[in-house]
Amino acid sequence: MTVLLSIGTGKGLFLATSSDDRKFWEVSGPHFPMTGVYAVAIDKRRGSPRLLAGITSSHFGPSVATSDDLGGSWDEPDHAPVAFPERTGTALERVWQIAPGPADQPERVYAGTQPSALFVSDDGGRTYDFVDGLWDHPHRPNWGAGFGGQAVHTVLPDPRDPAAVLVAMSTGGVYRTADAGANWSASNTGIKAYFLPDPFPEYGQCVHKVARDAANPDRLYIQNHHGVYRSDDAGATWQSIADGLPTDFGFAMVAHPHRADVIYNFPIKADGRRFPPDERCRVYRSSDGGTSWEALSDGLPEEPFYPTVLRDAMCVDDVDPAGVYFGTRSGEVYASRDEGDSWSQVAAHLPDILCVRAATV
């Protein structure tokens, strides 16, 4: 068994592989040097896994590249794979999320972008079409930009229904479609936007990440810009699950790959104090859907720790027991091969880490 850990950084993509059940990792790269790799995906719905990378050169703009030989070679179409239509008067700034579709739609891949828009591919992620319905939503002129820009950073297809997709954006919040993207509804009931005059608006929240429960597709988890929430009704309403955490700020939220109610989070003190609580490197895990949380730090640095973990810089693999991974803005990557109980360092001294994804290949 080989596990591939794909590490998107501010200056290129690194690939780590382990062939000894995730004890030793060999790191190669950078692929696409000097590009920001904000989105990676490992799509296993075909005979040989396809790697996808959303890359952005500060000089030469954004693109999406694919590899069908585990990073040995990369391919891009001649024409821009993700491009805004002329009627929008807009140009793509960055692809923030690449999300393979449901298992029964093996060629479908979604891309969430900056500025906030959704694109859909039906050729396995090589080229994408613009989703008009989200762009034409009457709320769009009021969607704002956080420090990272205005982006759809989360796309969650419903594994049961190819017409149902959830997206999240900063700022704007959660939107859902039930008709394959033609119509979208804001879905933020219960999520706070403390930075707005009405702290519980219909939309405008700064949702940082949404994860879907492994066993119950109607159960979703959010790390918000202050606030951690769970929905048990597919996103219609949200309830706080922050009480057991040391703080309700952070960026990452990850669900276990196959166990119900198990989620991972990397808390950060506050919007205005973006350091881990107590300056300690700790992952928090809940095994009861967020009702209670436990700190995990065995094998993680014990000295004062200041880096943060960005919204896509934590992930799980598809092994049993599950591997859990996170990368820091200081270029360190840590892995657990026992569901978070203990950790070891995969890499250090990389550029700032923007995203990680892992799977057996």
């Binding site: 000097m34 050169s57 500060s58 000089h59 030469f60 703009g61 693109s63 891009e76 001649d78 024409h79 821009a80 491009a83 805004f84 002329e86 008067g89 807009t90 140009a91 793509l92």
Partner: protein, 93 residues
């Protein structure tokens, strides 16, 4: 008539390693030259202009040594035999 476009090292993966390419310049403007470039070398052109056809912010294009932004941008005239340089600007960290 043709013009020569000099390609920076970072973009030569898009020209099969060539340091320069030659394209027709029938329209007489930089925009027309880049349109011709898009036909022959589409992946090179899309690194230089976005999907609106606008020059990317941190790419500079010189026509016989003059920055096109100090001329008329993509409306700048391009004489026959001109040399066009594509140069990444100083950006990043």
């Amino acid at each position: 008539m043709t013009v020569t476009i000099w390609v920076p090292g970072m973009l030569r993966t898009e020209t099969e390693g060539a340091a320069h390419v030659t394209v027709a310049a029938e329209g007489g403007t930089l925009g027309a030259v880049l349109d011709e470039l898009a036909d022959r070398w589409p992946r090179l052109e899309r690194r230089i202009r976005d999907e609106r056809g606008e020059l990317r912010r941190y790419v500079n294009v010189y026509i016989d040594g003059d920055d096109c932004r100090s001329l008329a941008g993509q409306d700048s005239p391009v004489p026959a035999g001109a040399e066009i340089q594509v140069v990444p600007s100083v950006a990043g960290g």
